[in-house]
Protein backbone atom coordinates (compact mmCIF):
# COMPACT_ATOMS: atom_id res chain seq x y z
CA UNK A 1 0.00 0.00 0.00
CA UNK A 2 2.75 2.46 1.03
CA UNK A 3 6.41 2.13 0.16
CA UNK A 4 9.32 4.42 0.97
CA UNK A 5 12.26 3.62 -1.28
CA UNK A 6 15.76 5.02 -0.57
CA UNK A 7 14.46 8.37 0.62
CA UNK A 8 17.03 11.11 1.21
CA UNK A 9 15.88 14.45 2.64
CA UNK A 10 17.90 17.46 3.78
CA UNK A 11 17.14 20.96 5.10
CA UNK A 12 19.70 23.76 4.58
CA UNK A 13 22.42 21.20 3.91
CA UNK A 14 21.62 19.20 7.05
CA UNK A 15 20.74 15.57 6.31
CA UNK A 16 17.43 14.60 8.02
CA UNK A 17 16.74 11.22 6.39
CA UNK A 18 19.30 8.94 4.76
CA UNK A 19 18.28 6.02 2.52
CA UNK A 20 15.08 5.34 4.41
CA UNK A 21 13.13 2.38 3.05
CA UNK A 22 10.14 0.47 4.41
CA UNK A 23 6.81 -0.96 3.30
CA UNK A 24 3.35 -0.74 4.88
CA UNK A 25 0.99 -3.44 3.71
CA UNK A 26 -2.77 -3.07 3.28
CA UNK A 27 -4.49 -3.06 6.68
CA UNK A 28 -1.20 -2.91 8.60
CA UNK A 29 -0.28 -0.48 11.35
CA UNK A 30 3.39 0.39 11.09
CA UNK A 31 4.99 2.31 13.91
CA UNK A 32 7.92 4.61 13.21
CA UNK A 33 9.92 4.78 16.43
CA UNK A 34 12.84 6.92 17.37
CA UNK A 35 14.14 9.62 19.68
CA UNK A 36 13.27 13.28 19.19
CA UNK A 37 14.98 14.72 16.13
CA UNK A 38 15.42 11.37 14.37
CA UNK A 39 13.24 12.44 11.41
CA UNK A 40 10.05 10.55 12.27
CA UNK A 41 7.53 13.37 11.69
CA UNK A 42 9.31 14.24 8.43
CA UNK A 43 8.25 10.85 7.06
CA UNK A 44 4.59 11.78 7.48
CA UNK A 45 5.18 15.19 5.88
CA UNK A 46 6.87 13.52 2.92
CA UNK A 47 3.95 11.14 2.51
CA UNK A 48 1.50 14.05 2.51
CA UNK A 49 3.59 15.98 0.01
CA UNK A 50 4.11 18.87 2.43
CA UNK A 51 7.82 18.58 1.66
CA UNK A 52 9.63 16.87 -1.20
CA UNK A 53 12.58 14.44 -0.83
CA UNK A 54 15.96 15.13 -2.38
CA UNK A 55 15.88 11.66 -3.95
CA UNK A 56 14.09 8.34 -3.70
CA UNK A 57 10.51 7.28 -4.27
CA UNK A 58 7.31 7.29 -2.21
CA UNK A 59 4.74 4.89 -3.61
CA UNK A 60 1.10 4.85 -2.57
CA UNK A 61 -1.00 2.25 -4.33
CA UNK A 62 1.81 1.88 -6.86
CA UNK A 63 1.92 5.59 -7.76
CA UNK A 64 5.16 7.50 -7.11
CA UNK A 65 4.15 10.68 -5.28
CA UNK A 66 7.52 12.32 -5.88
CA UNK A 67 6.64 12.59 -9.57
CA UNK A 68 3.09 13.97 -9.36
CA UNK A 69 2.08 17.62 -9.59
CA UNK A 70 0.28 19.54 -6.85
CA UNK A 71 -3.13 19.01 -8.46
CA UNK A 72 -2.73 15.22 -8.39
CA UNK A 73 -1.23 15.40 -4.89
CA UNK A 74 -4.38 17.21 -3.72
CA UNK A 75 -6.43 14.25 -4.97
CA UNK A 76 -4.14 11.75 -3.25
CA UNK A 77 -4.48 13.62 0.05
CA UNK A 78 -8.21 13.01 -0.04
CA UNK A 79 -7.62 9.33 0.68
CA UNK A 80 -5.31 10.10 3.59
CA UNK A 81 -6.43 11.22 7.03
CA UNK A 82 -3.80 12.90 9.20
CA UNK A 83 -3.76 13.36 12.97
CA UNK A 84 -1.18 16.04 13.72
CA UNK A 85 0.88 16.31 16.84
CA UNK A 86 -1.13 18.35 19.37
CA UNK A 87 -4.15 17.94 17.07
CA UNK A 88 -3.70 21.08 14.93
CA UNK A 89 -7.42 21.84 15.18
CA UNK A 90 -8.47 25.06 13.43
CA UNK A 91 -8.92 27.33 16.43
CA UNK A 92 -11.25 29.76 14.64
CA UNK A 93 -13.75 26.92 13.98
CA UNK A 94 -16.07 24.94 16.21
CA UNK A 95 -15.70 21.19 16.79
CA UNK A 96 -18.40 20.56 14.17
CA UNK A 97 -16.68 22.79 11.62
CA UNK A 98 -13.36 21.09 12.29
CA UNK A 99 -14.72 17.56 11.96
CA UNK A 100 -16.83 18.43 8.92
CA UNK A 101 -14.08 20.45 7.27
CA UNK A 102 -13.34 18.08 4.39
CA UNK A 103 -17.01 17.33 3.79
CA UNK A 104 -17.76 21.03 3.34
CA UNK A 105 -14.54 21.81 1.48
CA UNK A 106 -14.67 19.05 -1.15
CA UNK A 107 -17.88 17.15 -1.22
CA UNK A 108 -20.15 20.22 -0.95
CA UNK A 109 -22.48 18.04 1.08
CA UNK A 110 -25.60 19.78 2.36
CA UNK A 111 -25.46 20.99 5.95
CA UNK A 112 -27.90 18.45 7.36
CA UNK A 113 -25.88 15.55 5.96
CA UNK A 114 -22.66 17.12 7.24
CA UNK A 115 -24.16 17.47 10.70
CA UNK A 116 -25.32 13.86 10.64
CA UNK A 117 -21.86 12.59 9.65
CA UNK A 118 -20.12 14.83 12.16
CA UNK A 119 -22.25 13.48 15.02
CA UNK A 120 -21.74 9.89 13.81
CA UNK A 121 -17.95 10.38 13.68
CA UNK A 122 -17.87 11.97 17.12
CA UNK A 123 -19.72 8.92 18.46
CA UNK A 124 -17.17 6.68 16.72
CA UNK A 125 -14.35 8.32 18.66
CA UNK A 126 -16.26 8.23 21.93
CA UNK A 127 -17.14 11.92 22.21
CA UNK A 128 -20.49 13.38 23.23
CA UNK A 129 -22.47 15.05 20.45
CA UNK A 130 -23.08 18.14 22.56
CA UNK A 131 -19.46 19.14 21.94
CA UNK A 132 -20.27 20.19 18.38
CA UNK A 133 -20.54 23.92 19.16
CA UNK A 134 -17.52 24.10 21.42
CA UNK A 135 -14.28 25.78 20.35
CA UNK A 136 -11.05 23.76 20.48
CA UNK A 137 -9.58 25.77 23.37
CA UNK A 138 -12.55 24.75 25.51
CA UNK A 139 -11.58 21.07 25.28
CA UNK A 140 -9.04 19.03 27.22
CA UNK A 141 -5.94 17.72 25.46
CA UNK A 142 -7.36 14.24 25.14
CA UNK A 143 -10.64 15.51 23.72
CA UNK A 144 -8.78 17.70 21.23
CA UNK A 145 -6.82 14.67 20.10
CA UNK A 146 -10.01 12.67 19.61
CA UNK A 147 -11.60 15.52 17.65
CA UNK A 148 -8.47 15.49 15.47
CA UNK A 149 -8.96 11.75 14.87
CA UNK A 150 -12.63 12.37 14.07
CA UNK A 151 -11.61 15.06 11.57
CA UNK A 152 -9.24 12.60 9.89
CA UNK A 153 -11.93 9.91 9.77
CA UNK A 154 -14.67 12.15 8.42
CA UNK A 155 -12.45 13.11 5.47
CA UNK A 156 -14.04 10.94 2.74
CA UNK A 157 -13.53 7.72 4.73
CA UNK A 158 -9.76 7.65 4.16
CA UNK A 159 -7.94 4.45 3.28
CA UNK A 160 -4.78 5.57 5.08
CA UNK A 161 -4.50 7.11 8.54
CA UNK A 162 -1.38 8.93 9.73
CA UNK A 163 -0.74 9.65 13.41
CA UNK A 164 1.99 12.06 14.51
CA UNK A 165 2.77 11.36 18.17
CA UNK A 166 -0.93 11.01 19.03
CA UNK A 167 -0.43 10.57 22.79
CA UNK A 168 2.36 13.09 23.44
CA UNK A 169 1.48 15.45 26.25
CA UNK A 170 -1.54 13.47 27.45
CA UNK A 171 -2.05 11.95 30.88
CA UNK A 172 -1.85 8.13 30.97
CA UNK A 173 -5.63 7.64 31.00
CA UNK A 174 -6.19 9.95 28.06
CA UNK A 175 -3.26 8.34 26.23
CA UNK A 176 -4.77 4.91 26.76
CA UNK A 177 -8.12 6.08 25.37
CA UNK A 178 -6.32 7.30 22.24
CA UNK A 179 -4.36 4.07 21.71
CA UNK A 180 -7.53 2.02 22.33
CA UNK A 181 -9.25 4.12 19.66
CA UNK A 182 -6.40 3.57 17.21
CA UNK A 183 -6.58 -0.18 17.86
CA UNK A 184 -10.35 -0.11 17.35
CA UNK A 185 -9.96 1.68 14.02
CA UNK A 186 -7.34 -0.85 12.97
CA UNK A 187 -9.31 -3.92 13.97
CA UNK A 188 -12.86 -2.81 13.14
CA UNK A 189 -12.21 -0.93 9.90
CA UNK A 190 -8.98 -2.43 8.61
CA UNK A 191 -7.37 0.96 8.01
CA UNK A 192 -3.78 1.12 6.84
CA UNK A 193 -1.97 3.24 9.40
CA UNK A 194 1.39 4.82 9.97
CA UNK A 195 2.05 6.03 13.49
CA UNK A 196 5.04 8.08 14.58
CA UNK A 197 5.95 7.94 18.25
CA UNK A 198 8.81 7.85 20.70
CA UNK A 199 6.65 6.02 23.24
CA UNK A 200 7.69 2.37 23.20
CA UNK A 201 4.65 1.20 25.16
CA UNK A 202 2.30 2.74 22.58
CA UNK A 203 4.38 1.23 19.80
CA UNK A 204 4.13 -2.28 21.20
CA UNK A 205 0.42 -1.89 21.86
CA UNK A 206 -0.59 -0.58 18.46
CA UNK A 207 1.97 -1.73 15.88
CA UNK A 208 1.93 -4.82 13.66
CA UNK A 209 5.39 -3.87 12.47
CA UNK A 210 8.05 -1.37 13.51
CA UNK A 211 10.72 0.78 12.02
CA UNK A 212 13.29 2.36 14.35
CA UNK A 213 15.06 5.51 13.17
CA UNK A 214 18.31 6.82 14.57
CA UNK A 215 19.84 10.03 13.19
CA UNK A 216 17.76 9.70 10.05
CA UNK A 217 18.67 6.10 9.29
CA UNK A 218 16.65 2.90 9.66
CA UNK A 219 18.34 0.76 12.31
CA UNK A 220 15.54 -1.76 12.72
CA UNK A 221 12.66 -2.87 10.52
CA UNK A 222 10.50 -5.82 11.49
CA UNK A 223 8.12 -7.36 14.00
CA UNK A 224 7.68 -5.80 17.45
CA UNK A 225 8.74 -9.08 19.05
CA UNK A 226 12.07 -9.00 17.21
CA UNK A 227 12.84 -5.45 18.42
CA UNK A 228 13.54 -6.59 21.95
CA UNK A 229 15.84 -9.37 20.67
CA UNK A 230 17.81 -7.11 18.30
CA UNK A 231 21.53 -7.10 18.96
CA UNK A 232 22.23 -3.63 17.58
CA UNK A 233 23.76 -1.35 20.28
CA UNK A 234 21.68 1.56 18.95
CA UNK A 235 18.46 -0.40 19.44
CA UNK A 236 19.52 -1.47 22.91
CA UNK A 237 20.41 2.08 23.89
CA UNK A 238 16.96 3.26 22.74
CA UNK A 239 15.20 0.46 24.64
CA UNK A 240 17.28 0.80 27.82
CA UNK A 241 15.05 3.37 29.62
CA UNK A 242 11.97 1.32 28.80
CA UNK A 243 13.56 -1.89 30.06
CA UNK A 244 14.65 -0.10 33.27
CA UNK A 245 11.12 1.21 33.82
CA UNK A 246 9.65 -2.26 33.25
CA UNK A 247 12.19 -3.80 35.63
CA UNK A 248 11.46 -1.13 38.25
CA UNK A 249 7.71 -1.68 37.93
CA UNK A 250 8.15 -5.45 38.18
CA UNK A 251 10.33 -5.03 41.27
CA UNK A 252 7.74 -2.78 42.93
CA UNK A 253 4.95 -5.20 42.18
CA UNK A 254 6.85 -8.23 43.47
CA UNK A 255 8.20 -6.61 46.66
CA UNK A 256 5.29 -4.29 47.42
CA UNK A 257 7.77 -1.44 48.05
CA UNK A 258 6.40 2.03 47.14
CA UNK A 259 8.12 3.68 44.17
CA UNK A 260 9.66 6.45 46.30
CA UNK A 261 11.58 3.87 48.36
CA UNK A 262 12.46 1.36 45.64
CA UNK A 263 16.17 1.41 44.76
CA UNK A 264 16.70 2.68 41.21
CA UNK A 265 18.62 0.36 38.88
CA UNK A 266 21.98 2.05 38.11
CA UNK A 267 21.32 2.14 34.35
CA UNK A 268 18.02 4.04 34.62
CA UNK A 269 18.46 7.68 33.49
CA UNK A 270 16.60 10.52 35.21
CA UNK A 271 13.46 11.24 33.22
CA UNK A 272 11.30 14.22 34.23
CA UNK A 273 7.58 13.67 33.78
CA UNK A 274 5.45 15.49 31.23
CA UNK A 275 5.83 16.23 27.56
CA UNK A 276 9.30 15.46 26.15
Amino acid sequence: MIEFRDIIYSIDGRRILSDVSFVVGEGETRVILGPSGSGKSTILRLLLGLVRPDSGAILVGGEDLTRVNEERMRQVRQMIGMVFQQGALFDSMTVAENVGFSLLEHEHTDEDEVERRVRETLRQVGLAEDLVDRMPDELSGGMQRRVAIARALAARDPRILLYDEPTTGLDPQAAQRITDLILHLRDAYGKTSLMVTHDIADAYKVGNCMTLLHEGRVVFDGDPGDLDRAESPVVNEFLAPFRSAVALAAQRISTGVPASRAPRPPSAPFSPGGTP
Binding site: R45, F84, A88, S102
Partner: protein
Protein backbone atom coordinates in the same frame (compact mmCIF):
# COMPACT_ATOMS: atom_id res chain seq x y z
CA UNK B 1 37.67 36.49 5.09
CA UNK B 2 35.25 35.86 7.95
CA UNK B 3 33.69 39.32 7.67
CA UNK B 4 33.49 39.14 3.88
CA UNK B 5 31.95 35.68 4.09
CA UNK B 6 29.39 36.97 6.58
CA UNK B 7 28.49 39.88 4.31
CA UNK B 8 28.18 37.56 1.32
CA UNK B 9 25.91 35.25 3.30
CA UNK B 10 23.79 38.19 4.47
CA UNK B 11 23.39 39.54 0.94
CA UNK B 12 22.61 36.05 -0.33
CA UNK B 13 19.99 35.64 2.40
CA UNK B 14 18.36 38.97 1.49
CA UNK B 15 18.25 38.09 -2.21
CA UNK B 16 16.68 34.73 -1.44
CA UNK B 17 14.06 36.47 0.72
CA UNK B 18 13.30 38.98 -2.03
CA UNK B 19 12.90 36.13 -4.53
CA UNK B 20 10.63 34.25 -2.12
CA UNK B 21 8.50 37.37 -1.58
CA UNK B 22 8.22 37.90 -5.34
CA UNK B 23 7.06 34.31 -5.85
CA UNK B 24 4.59 34.67 -2.97
CA UNK B 25 3.23 37.86 -4.56
CA UNK B 26 2.76 36.12 -7.91
CA UNK B 27 1.02 33.19 -6.20
CA UNK B 28 -1.30 35.61 -4.39
CA UNK B 29 -2.41 37.29 -7.61
CA UNK B 30 -2.89 33.90 -9.31
CA UNK B 31 -5.00 32.67 -6.40
CA UNK B 32 -7.26 35.74 -6.64
CA UNK B 33 -8.55 34.62 -10.03
CA UNK B 34 -9.10 30.88 -9.49
CA UNK B 35 -11.79 29.03 -7.56
CA UNK B 36 -12.78 28.39 -4.86
CA UNK B 37 -13.56 31.75 -3.30
CA UNK B 38 -14.19 32.02 0.42
CA UNK B 39 -16.94 34.63 0.72
CA UNK B 40 -17.55 34.18 4.43
CA UNK B 41 -13.87 34.57 5.22
CA UNK B 42 -13.72 37.68 3.01
CA UNK B 43 -16.62 39.30 4.85
CA UNK B 44 -14.95 38.54 8.17
CA UNK B 45 -11.68 40.09 7.01
CA UNK B 46 -13.46 43.14 5.59
CA UNK B 47 -15.01 43.69 8.99
CA UNK B 48 -11.64 43.26 10.72
CA UNK B 49 -9.76 45.54 8.33
CA UNK B 50 -12.44 48.14 7.66
CA UNK B 51 -14.72 48.49 10.65
CA UNK B 52 -11.99 47.43 13.05
CA UNK B 53 -9.59 50.13 11.84
CA UNK B 54 -12.22 52.90 11.62
CA UNK B 55 -11.86 54.32 15.10
CA UNK B 56 -8.08 54.53 15.01
CA UNK B 57 -8.18 56.14 11.54
CA UNK B 58 -10.82 58.67 12.64
CA UNK B 59 -8.85 59.67 15.73
CA UNK B 60 -5.46 59.90 14.07
CA UNK B 61 -6.73 61.73 10.97
CA UNK B 62 -8.74 64.28 12.94
CA UNK B 63 -5.84 65.03 15.27
CA UNK B 64 -3.15 65.07 12.56
CA UNK B 65 -5.32 67.19 10.27
CA UNK B 66 -5.81 69.81 12.94
CA UNK B 67 -2.12 69.83 13.86
CA UNK B 68 -1.18 70.36 10.21
CA UNK B 69 -3.79 73.08 9.78
CA UNK B 70 -2.48 74.89 12.87
CA UNK B 71 1.05 74.94 11.48
CA UNK B 72 -0.11 76.06 8.02
CA UNK B 73 -2.62 78.65 9.26
CA UNK B 74 -0.05 80.31 11.49
CA UNK B 75 2.52 80.64 8.69
CA UNK B 76 -0.06 81.70 6.12
CA UNK B 77 -1.37 84.35 8.50
CA UNK B 78 2.13 85.83 8.76
CA UNK B 79 2.46 86.04 4.97
CA UNK B 80 -1.07 87.32 4.49
CA UNK B 81 -2.22 84.27 2.57
CA UNK B 82 -4.71 82.84 5.06
CA UNK B 83 -7.26 82.31 2.31
CA UNK B 84 -4.99 79.66 0.80
CA UNK B 85 -5.40 77.31 3.79
CA UNK B 86 -7.96 75.15 1.97
CA UNK B 87 -5.64 74.84 -1.03
CA UNK B 88 -2.65 73.75 1.01
CA UNK B 89 -4.68 71.37 3.15
CA UNK B 90 -5.94 69.57 0.05
CA UNK B 91 -2.48 69.28 -1.46
CA UNK B 92 -0.89 68.18 1.82
CA UNK B 93 -3.60 65.82 3.00
CA UNK B 94 -5.13 64.35 -0.14
CA UNK B 95 -1.91 63.90 -2.10
CA UNK B 96 0.51 63.03 0.67
CA UNK B 97 -0.25 62.99 4.39
CA UNK B 98 -3.64 61.30 4.25
CA UNK B 99 -2.65 58.11 2.43
CA UNK B 100 0.64 57.81 4.33
CA UNK B 101 -0.83 58.50 7.78
CA UNK B 102 -3.80 56.18 7.31
CA UNK B 103 -1.53 53.63 5.65
CA UNK B 104 0.91 53.61 8.57
CA UNK B 105 -1.88 53.41 11.15
CA UNK B 106 -3.60 50.55 9.33
CA UNK B 107 -0.25 48.86 8.61
CA UNK B 108 0.70 48.77 12.28
CA UNK B 109 -2.67 47.24 13.20
CA UNK B 110 -3.22 44.88 10.29
CA UNK B 111 0.38 43.73 9.85
CA UNK B 112 0.57 42.75 13.50
CA UNK B 113 -2.86 41.11 13.50
CA UNK B 114 -2.44 39.16 10.27
CA UNK B 115 1.14 38.05 10.86
CA UNK B 116 0.53 37.02 14.47
CA UNK B 117 -2.51 34.95 13.52
CA UNK B 118 -0.89 33.22 10.55
CA UNK B 119 2.40 32.67 12.39
CA UNK B 120 0.50 31.07 15.27
CA UNK B 121 -1.30 28.86 12.76
CA UNK B 122 2.09 27.90 11.29
CA UNK B 123 3.50 27.14 14.73
CA UNK B 124 0.55 24.88 15.60
CA UNK B 125 0.55 23.05 12.20
CA UNK B 126 -2.86 24.49 11.24
CA UNK B 127 -1.56 25.65 7.85
CA UNK B 128 -0.15 22.19 7.14
CA UNK B 129 -3.48 20.74 8.31
CA UNK B 130 -5.29 22.90 5.73
CA UNK B 131 -3.07 21.42 3.02
CA UNK B 132 -3.44 17.90 4.42
CA UNK B 133 -7.24 18.19 4.26
CA UNK B 134 -7.18 19.45 0.70
CA UNK B 135 -7.53 23.19 1.15
CA UNK B 136 -5.26 25.76 -0.46
CA UNK B 137 -3.94 28.12 2.25
CA UNK B 138 -3.28 30.83 -0.35
CA UNK B 139 -6.94 30.88 -1.37
CA UNK B 140 -8.35 30.39 2.10
CA UNK B 141 -6.07 32.61 4.16
CA UNK B 142 -4.19 35.04 1.93
CA UNK B 143 -6.71 36.05 -0.75
CA UNK B 144 -9.48 37.14 1.68
CA UNK B 145 -7.00 39.29 3.62
CA UNK B 146 -5.52 40.74 0.42
CA UNK B 147 -8.89 41.66 -1.10
CA UNK B 148 -10.21 42.96 2.23
CA UNK B 149 -7.31 45.39 2.57
CA UNK B 150 -7.53 46.46 -1.09
CA UNK B 151 -11.19 47.40 -0.47
CA UNK B 152 -10.90 48.74 3.07
CA UNK B 153 -7.78 50.91 2.92
CA UNK B 154 -8.87 53.24 0.09
CA UNK B 155 -12.18 53.72 1.87
CA UNK B 156 -10.41 54.47 5.13
CA UNK B 157 -8.14 56.96 3.35
CA UNK B 158 -11.18 58.79 1.97
CA UNK B 159 -12.67 58.99 5.46
CA UNK B 160 -9.35 60.07 6.95
CA UNK B 161 -8.79 62.73 4.29
CA UNK B 162 -12.30 64.11 4.76
CA UNK B 163 -11.89 64.34 8.54
CA UNK B 164 -8.46 65.97 8.26
CA UNK B 165 -9.69 68.55 5.74
CA UNK B 166 -12.82 69.31 7.77
CA UNK B 167 -10.67 69.58 10.88
CA UNK B 168 -8.50 72.05 9.01
CA UNK B 169 -11.54 74.21 8.35
CA UNK B 170 -12.41 74.23 12.02
CA UNK B 171 -8.87 75.33 12.88
CA UNK B 172 -9.02 77.96 10.15
CA UNK B 173 -12.00 79.61 11.81
CA UNK B 174 -9.78 80.27 14.84
CA UNK B 175 -7.61 82.32 12.49
CA UNK B 176 -10.66 84.17 11.18
CA UNK B 177 -10.78 82.24 7.93
CA UNK B 178 -14.43 81.83 7.03
CA UNK B 179 -15.80 78.44 6.25
CA UNK B 180 -16.78 79.64 2.76
CA UNK B 181 -13.27 80.87 2.00
CA UNK B 182 -11.75 77.67 3.26
CA UNK B 183 -14.13 75.42 1.27
CA UNK B 184 -13.61 77.52 -1.89
CA UNK B 185 -9.92 76.64 -1.68
CA UNK B 186 -10.73 73.01 -1.05
CA UNK B 187 -13.09 72.78 -4.04
CA UNK B 188 -10.64 74.54 -6.31
CA UNK B 189 -7.84 72.11 -5.63
CA UNK B 190 -9.82 68.91 -5.13
CA UNK B 191 -9.24 68.14 -8.79
CA UNK B 192 -9.45 64.70 -10.43
CA UNK B 193 -5.67 64.64 -10.75
CA UNK B 194 -5.08 65.34 -7.07
CA UNK B 195 -7.71 62.79 -6.14
CA UNK B 196 -6.16 60.16 -8.40
CA UNK B 197 -2.70 60.78 -7.00
CA UNK B 198 -4.11 60.38 -3.53
CA UNK B 199 -6.08 57.25 -4.37
CA UNK B 200 -3.42 55.30 -6.28
CA UNK B 201 -1.31 55.12 -3.16
CA UNK B 202 -3.79 53.31 -0.86
CA UNK B 203 -4.20 50.45 -3.33
CA UNK B 204 -0.45 49.91 -3.55
CA UNK B 205 -0.03 50.30 0.20
CA UNK B 206 -2.84 47.79 0.83
CA UNK B 207 -1.28 45.23 -1.50
CA UNK B 208 2.09 45.61 0.17
CA UNK B 209 0.70 45.40 3.73
CA UNK B 210 -1.36 42.29 2.97
CA UNK B 211 1.32 40.42 1.06
CA UNK B 212 4.15 41.20 3.50
CA UNK B 213 1.99 40.35 6.54
CA UNK B 214 0.82 37.04 5.08
CA UNK B 215 4.28 36.16 3.81
CA UNK B 216 5.90 36.76 7.22
CA UNK B 217 3.19 34.71 8.88
CA UNK B 218 3.59 31.78 6.50
CA UNK B 219 7.40 31.81 6.84
CA UNK B 220 7.45 32.06 10.63
CA UNK B 221 9.68 29.54 12.40
CA UNK B 222 10.64 28.78 15.96
CA UNK B 223 7.35 28.57 17.83
CA UNK B 224 6.23 31.43 20.09
CA UNK B 225 9.47 33.35 19.72
CA UNK B 226 9.16 33.09 15.96
CA UNK B 227 5.64 34.54 16.12
CA UNK B 228 6.99 37.59 17.93
CA UNK B 229 9.92 38.03 15.55
CA UNK B 230 7.76 37.67 12.45
CA UNK B 231 5.13 40.09 13.75
CA UNK B 232 7.70 42.74 14.59
CA UNK B 233 9.43 42.37 11.22
CA UNK B 234 6.10 42.55 9.43
CA UNK B 235 5.15 45.85 11.06
CA UNK B 236 8.59 47.35 10.44
CA UNK B 237 8.75 46.26 6.79
CA UNK B 238 5.20 47.51 6.10
CA UNK B 239 5.75 50.85 7.82
CA UNK B 240 9.10 51.57 6.17
CA UNK B 241 7.79 50.20 2.90
CA UNK B 242 4.93 52.70 2.91
CA UNK B 243 7.35 55.59 3.31
CA UNK B 244 9.64 54.31 0.56
CA UNK B 245 6.74 53.54 -1.77
CA UNK B 246 5.30 57.00 -1.15
CA UNK B 247 8.60 58.64 -2.06
CA UNK B 248 8.97 56.58 -5.23
CA UNK B 249 5.36 57.17 -6.31
CA UNK B 250 5.59 60.90 -5.68
CA UNK B 251 8.68 61.17 -7.87
CA UNK B 252 7.12 58.99 -10.57
CA UNK B 253 3.94 61.06 -10.60
CA UNK B 254 5.92 64.29 -10.94
CA UNK B 255 8.37 63.03 -13.56
CA UNK B 256 6.16 60.83 -15.73
CA UNK B 257 2.69 62.27 -15.36
CA UNK B 258 3.66 65.85 -14.44
CA UNK B 259 0.73 65.86 -12.06
Amino acid sequence: MGVIQTIIERVRGILISVQDLALFTAATFRACFTRPFYGRELVHQLHFAGIGSLLIVVLSSAVAGQALALQLARELAVTGAKSQLGHFMVISVVRALGPVLVGMVVASRMSAGITAELAAMRATDQIDALVAFGSDPMKRLVVPRFIALMVALPGLVVIGDALAVIGGGVVGMQYHITWETYMNGVHLYLTPKNLMVGMIKPFLFAAMIAIVACWKGFRSEGGAKGVGVSTTESVVISSVGILILDGVLTRLVFKLLHW
